[in-house]
């Protein structure tokens, strides 16, 4: 029982190997969380913006306007689904599907929590809860986010509408530009950790801050894995600023919402979409917001780690901390939307290419040099030379036997 109180599960329970169930838990859990929170995000956004603009916000439908999201969803379901004339039907229908599928696929390698298991021989080992904690996790997320251009550009082109096309072109130019800064800021952390696994990046933040030595007293242990040892400060503030700006630009949100600038482009790439097809773009945008906020939380803000390593905070399960950090990202989105005016298009491109990209490159080189300097004394690590011979041998044998 004391094991379960400390959050340690047995490796085998009723003959079931529990660690191999972890990806399924992550899959079902993340889908349930995202689909459940999705309608609420609209409510949260309305309430927060109303708060900031000193208005009452939604208060007509249900208590505190809480039934407004179900009403919105019902409205979207039952609206007439219009397909304009002269559209490229096939692409017009597939574009919202691409958007929403990729948005959901992006969160697959995020580590949402850490689960501890006690092996048969008494050792405790921990596993990151993620659909697949593969060793190219960050590259996978970047790859999926680079594919998200397709949904937008196809929607814009197939709608046969000049506003849609302009919105689609703007969106793709913006996505391509800000992807680079996003990748650079993530690379800064990758250099410090030496791994692209999101699970290992979270684990690497569970140390004493600023490299100071560990001591057994509780007031000293309190800072192990605390907010001071997360990578927002550990990588020197610049990467987290670059990442936060580019994550807002990547999801086409205010103040970078030029692709759907109402005053210029009606509604941008989804002008011609109605009913559930519009809802798919809408939910795709919100899921993408959740994913990039989750990546922000996992890479720069300690993922599932509590802000201080003391008793009441450590009792809260890791995924609750992760969700709290994601929701702080969502709050930031809403805050910016309520306060900042939209950027001009050339200002957007200048910020991406002439400010953030060079700054990110310089910072990457500085961090690389520092890491090389601090690891110089430890000696190079090498891959064992054996594998090359191991691969060649069976291949040669295979072809020979086939020829004979």
């Amino acid at each position: 029982m004391s094991d379960l109180f400390n959050g340690i599960f047995p490796e085998y329970w009723a003959g079931i190997h529990l660690p191999s169930l972890v990806p399924y838990i992550a899959m079902v859990g993340s889908f349930a969380f995202v689909l459940g929170i999705l309608p609420m995000l609209i409510w949260i956004e309305r309430v927060v913006i109303a708060l900031m603009q000193d208005r009452k916000g939604p208060n007509r439908v249900g208590p505190r306007g809480l039934l407004q999201p179900p009403a919105d969803v019902l409205k979207l379901f039952f609206k007439e689904d219009i397909t304009p004339g002269n559209v490229d039907k096939w692409l017009y229908y597939i574009a919202p599907m691409i958007t929403v599928t990729l948005a959901f696929a992006g969160s697959a390698t995020l580590a949402t929590a850490v689960m501890n298991f006690r092996a048969e021989n008494g050792d405790v080992f921990s596993l990151p809860v993620s659909v697949g904690d593969v060793n190219v996790g960050l590259l996978y997320i970047l790859g999926i986010s680079s594919l998200q251009v397709y949904g937008i550009i196809l929607a814009g082109w197939s709608s046969n509408n000049k506003y849609s096309l302009l919105g689609g072109l703007r969106a793709s130019a913006q996505l391509i530009s800000y992807e680079l800064s996003m990748g650079l800021s993530l690379l800064c952390v990758v250099i410090l950790v030496g791994s692209l696994k999101v699970g290992s990046i979270v684990e690497a933040q569970n140390v004493m801050p600023f490299g100071i030595a560990e001591r057994p007293e509780w007031w000293w242990q309190m800072f192990k894995g605390s907010f001071l040892s997360w990578f927002w400060i550990g990588s020197g503030l610049i990467p987290v600023i670059i990442y936060t700006i580019s994550m807002i630009a990547e999801t086409n949100r205010a103040p970078f919402d030029l692709p759907e600038a109402e005053s210029e482009l009606v509604a941008g790439f989804h002008t011609e979409y109605s009913s559930m097809k519009f809802a798919m773009f809408f939910s795709g945008e919100y899921v993408a917001m959740l994913t990039v906020s989750g990546l922000n939380a996992a890479v720069f803000w300690g993922g599932s780690l509590p802000p201080l390593n003391i008793l009441p905070l450590t009792l809260v399960p890791g995924f609750i901390w992760f969700i709290i950090k994601i929701m702080m990202g969502i709050f930031l989105y809403t805050w910016l939307r309520a306060t900042l005016p939209r950027l001009r298009y050339d200002a957007l491109m200048n910020l991406g290419w002439k400010r953030m990209l060079p700054l990110g490159l310089v910072w990457l080189f500085i961090l690389a040099a520092l890491t090389l300097h601090s690891e110089g004394s430890k000696g190079r690590d090498t891959v064992p030379a054996a594998p090359v011979a191991e691969i060649k041998a069976p291949a040669v044998r295979g072809t020979r036997s086939a020829r004979n």
């Binding site: 490229d88 096939w90 692409l91 593969v134 060793n135 190219v136 590259l139 996978y140 970047l142 790859g143 999926i144 680079s146 594919l147 251009v149 397709y150 550009i153 196809l154 082109w157 096309l165 072109l169 793709s172 391509i176 030496g194 791994s195 692209l196 690590d381 090498t382 891959v383 594998p387 191991e390 691969i391 069976p394 291949a395 044998r397 295979g398 072809t399 036997s401 086939a402 020829r403």
Partner: protein, 170 residues
């Protein structure tokens, strides 16, 4: 690779490749090529070359094909009739070259040795990771550092050249 996964991948990738060359609509053709690239990325994963798979998605599907789509859309090549060429020698040359390739592959027997069960089982799993590729690529004892750096210089020169040519025309 399980047979189910193989058949799904095989049908989708070959089907998309055939669609790419048969469809008359350039945008659909480009999308079919993207599908083929994504299938190739999955093939890389099944061969435990995860880094190459991720790079395949980011570079080919995410960057190059987006550029293709941009060009197709901005040049407005959407009208299918515009692409039909009459009296062209191209199909004849394409069929004969394809036939020669098939003959060569058959003569080299490489079509029949693909099925060797040993080849799949002995793939060294950690070799495809980012760490192993990096350590091998930048190891002074290995011969790959010089070609790698030469390739990057070549790419840099091409980038600078493209910018200069674009600037001249403005």
């Amino acid at each position: 690779m399980s047979p189910l996964l193989f058949w799904i991948l095989a049908v989708v990738s070959v089907g998309a490749a055939v669609l790419m060359i048969t469809t008359k609509n350039p945008v659909r053709s480009a999308l079919a090529l993207v599908t083929t690239f994504l299938c190739v990325a999955v093939y890389y994963i099944t061969l435990s070359a995860q880094f190459i798979a991720a790079v395949q998605v980011i570079v080919y599907a995410g960057a190059i094909m987006v550029l293709f789509l941009f060009v197709i859309m901005l040049l407005n090549l959407g009208a299918p009739q515009a692409l039909e060429e009459k009296g062209s020698l191209q199909p004849v040359i394409a069929w004969s070259l394809g036939g020669i390739l098939l003959l060569t592959l058959t003569a080299a027997r490489s079509l029949f040795t693909l099925n060797s069960p040993q080849a799949g089982a002995n793939v060294y799993e950690p070799l495809g990771t980012v760490r192993a590729i990096g350590l091998n690529l930048f190891d002074p004892a290995q011969p790959w550092l010089f070609p790698f750096e030469m390739t990057s210089i070549l790419l840099l020169v091409a980038t600078v050249g493209a910018i200069i040519m674009a600037k001249r025309q403005v």
